[in-house]
Assembly symmetry: C2
Homo-oligomer: 544 residues x 2
């Protein structure tokens, strides 16, 4: 067959030639939204490639971005990889030292930064030895100590956009993300043109999120986190209208954008969904979200109560998926099967509560501690091992890679759970989040989901704390919506779980600490509340 | 990224593991339909691979099939490629000499044949020097001169199905089809595992035919013709119910199957759609086709009246596409855009009447005679050049390959038309030498050359004229050197071609009109004799 490589420019070709009049909308944060067509977009992406070439960027060089979800950031999404350079999106929510580590370890030559990120980069600049130029994503350059520094718009204005993106092997690196989900320094994941193209097709399939021309997609998930789950690439391929929430987005901005641009699909973290529900419940101001059909929530399992609330009050389907930076990120998606057409509503939520079916080309194994296959019976609990053409084969320049892969090259996810006979993956825990009490496993995630389904509970995180007799016991940290007692929560949990699963201790907190990507930060909870004394002191202070 | 190759066994993996309880239904032709699950199917596909290995088939060997759309043929669709051998589907409707050429040129080692095809293969067997074994797709072997000959079911019964399909490079050949669409001997197109996997994803996308789990697909298009347009592969990947119409299918069988199995999607040639409409209009017997949502008609453009009839009377959408054996086959598909949501019905049919938008990864150029790009303005007429990862890069072992590709590797389709500003491809004229009758190509040049070899014929030009049932039929315009009758010419042609190639009508003319460079001007012939009335008038005048 034609040895035509899979290249990201083919995605851009379709956006420009087949869907050239479809639009990209970008919230500026000060009034008017920016709106232009994919045809205009493609010209600007080529101008960016020309400008970066003029700055000395060569194929293989890394171009870092420290930016929000904006049209300019999106121009780099194609402009940088299609010229043969590597788009390195830096998570601006991390700690200073992590950001500096990531930029240096990635070897970024040029940094594209949003104006509000200038103070951050000025702080780090003395340590960023490889960076040869800074480009501020703005019309002009504000006062700054960064040097040499350029204005993005001035750079583009100097170019004509007449450039034919080159061919190269499909295994050429296209993009790079660092994952901070584990202990130690962040780990870099390098994507290829091939992997991005294949993952993009995966997002456009029936049975997946199904990016399509007629959809209006609000990309809430940050473009600095696993490429906003690949939605921006898929929107281009299918000519979907793409709505970008701009700098410092808050839940109210998402609702405003849904209202203003008749958004049909929104994609973001579960915690965002919770906050959007709270605003919609308050209904002051009122947002018209009647256009919204699908709210894809990821990062962790959306509570059943949240899914039901959106379905019952706004006819919004809340699907979920399972993924990870290493997997581009999507692995499973909660498509229902035709057999669920006529089952009772509660049983449908049993299915929607799982992480879903493996996407095409994503092979999943469920293995025991010896690496042997476990049955897909919905009961046997094991670790998931993955293999797919959009799965990273190693971490970038990192000695920790071998620990994450088995001898046959399967990626050991560290996620633990079951697979039912229909092929639905259901995570019970990260392996390190499991609680081993008296030799038996307790799933913190199942306890959390159950607690968060209680009407008085806003958020709940369950972690293991040391115990003299059982070695570990669950501790529930709870944020309440209305008054509730530990006794009431215990009684509630006993309806669903065996007595030995029930936490003896509940801590009522103001907020659950979150990681840079919005997940519950259990490391922090364990560190703060691991000692019984610390919990006593906290309760004493809270009761004052 | 993970250098996981794209292999067809990944499609089968999903059918077996994720959709193991979904069903394949195969019409036997004598009463009861066969029905079994994808889980059972996968075991039988592995047994076939074991049986073929036992017969001496090795990776790279070609295994030919001369068979209808049945479950056994479908087992070969995965069983043969997944073991590393090459599935060679032979078009059993071709002329004996073409079939022998194809089997010999392809180098088939084993032939899987339907019982009713035994007389055909017995006739050819003395010429099939490379074939080392015949397998009859039946429980037992009927009386036959073929040798050595085996029963398919007896071979499978001897195997345990415990086989792990091997890994190999994704560029490994997986399947092979011959196209008889051009002059001279048929040309072989070799598919790779990569191209089949990518084309399969293409069929499952939003904006394409969209094969999905909840669909019940009736594969009318023959499995010996461009792999039934890839539907059987896509059905496995997505767990769609697959309905196969079995041996010697007629339009009434399709309607019976739609009625009996609540088919939602049917896929076949335009001429089949015409015949189905005629039967439904007659309504005796009555068929309940209320389950049918989509009738994808291909091979040539469905007439607007046919599309409207299905929509108005049965709420069935009739999309079309454009493809060719060399392109696996699909290139474009008539998805509507959101901008068409509120346009008048007639304008919608203007869009549906076009061949559609390029699928993802399918790049199309419209070029003039010098190979320069023409604008996509809906007016400029040019030839389509194609590039995609599922496009053949050459014909198999064929010196004619270079003529079909330009210097940059684009495939020159020979099809001619326009592209509108929205990216819709609209063929205004095909390669003018070809006649599409009942979904199959007839080469006018071959007929002409044969006629002109007859001692009584001076010149002959064959053109397509419209036909109610077959949509196009060949008309032979003949300049004689000495008296000859249509019956004599028919008998003469039957020595060289299958009966369905033979023109029903011969017109004896004084001269064939010529173009400026002395070629037959077929446009003039089509304009003059395209209407049956005009031919009648001409004959009446000529006989005076």
């Amino acid at each position: 067959m034609m040895d035509r490589p899979l290249l990201m420019k083919q995605l851009l070709w379709r956006a420009e030639r087949v869907f050239g009049d479809k639009r990209i909308i970008s919230r500026t944060g000060d009034g008017e939204d920016i709106s232009y067509t994919y045809a205009e977009y493609a010209v600007r992406a080529r101008k960016l490639a020309q400008a970066l070439t003029a700055l000395g960027v060569r194929p293989g060089d890394r171009v870092g971005t420290v930016a929000w979800n904006t049209h300019r950031h999106y121009e780099a999404y194609f402009g940088v990889p299609c010229m043969g350079a590597v788009l390195h999106t830096v998570n601006l929510r991390l700690f200073d030292e992590q950001i500096a580590y990531i930029i240096n370890h990635g070897g970024d030559r040029v940094l594209l930064i949003d104006p509000d990120q200038i103070p951050l980069i000025e702080r780090l600049a003395p340590d960023l030895r490889g960076v040869q130029a800074y480009v501020v994503l703005a019309d002009t350059v504000p006062e700054t100590t960064l040097s040499p520094v350029h204005s993005y718009e001035e750079l583009l204005a100097a170019q004509d956009g007449k450039l034919e993106f080159p061919d190269f092997p499909e295994t050429t690196a296209s993009a790079m993300c660092y994952t901070s989900g584990t202990t130690g320094d962040p780990k870099g994941v390098l994507y290829s043109h091939r992997s991005v193209v294949l993952h993009t097709l995966g997002l456009c399939l029936h049975g997946s999120i199904g990016v399509r021309e007629e959809a209006i997609f609000l990309a809430i998930s940050p473009m600095f986190h696993a490429n906003s789950w690949g939605i921006p690439f898929a929107a281009a391929l299918q000519g979907a209208t793409l709505v970008l929430p701009g700098p410092h987005p808050e839940p109210k901005h998402y609702l405003e954008l849904i209202d203003r641009h008749k958004v049909t699909h929104a994609v973001g973290a579960v915690t965002i969904g919770v906050m959007m529900r709270d605003l919609l419940e308050r209904d002051d101001p009122h947002y018209d979200v009647s256009s919204l059909d699908v709210l894809w929530l990821g990062g962790q399992a959306p509570p059943r109560g949240l899914m039901k609330w959106f379905a019952d009050t706004h006819a919004v389907v809340v699907p979920q998926g399972w993924g990870m930076t290493e997997a581009s990120p999507l692995v499973t998606f909660t498509a229902l099967k035709s057999k669920h057409d006529h089952v009772a509503e509660d049983d449908v939520y049993d299915v929607r509560g799982k992480q879903g079916l493996p996407l095409p080309l994503c092979e999943v194994r469920l293995v025991d501690e010896d690496g042997d296959d476990l049955p897909w019976d919905g009961k046997a609990v094991g670790e998931y091992h993955l293999r797919s053409p959009w799965m990273a084969s190693a971490y970038y320049d990192d000695p920790r890679s071998p620990a994450s892969y088995d001898a046959q090259g399967w990626f050991k996810t560290g996620d633990v759970g079951v697979i039912d006979p229909d092929g639905y993956v259901q995570l019970t825990d990260r392996s390190k989040d499991l609680i081993k009490s008296g030799g038996e496993w307790i799933s913190s995630v199942e306890l959390e989901n159950s607690l968060m389904a209680h009407p008085a509970v806003a958020e709940a995180s369950v972690v293991a704390v040391p115990h003299d007799k059982w070695l570990e016991r669950p501790l529930a940290c709870v944020v309440t919506r209305s008054p509730v007692t530990p006794e009431e929560l215990t009684a509630y949990l006993l309806e669903h779980f065996a007595r030995w699963w029930i936490p003896e201790e509940f801590l009522f907190v103001d907020a659950i600490p979150k990681t840079g990507v919005g997940k519950f930060d259990k490391k922090v909870l364990r560190a703060r509340f691991g000692e019984a004394d610390a919990r006593e002191r906290y309760r004493a202070e809270a009761s004052r």
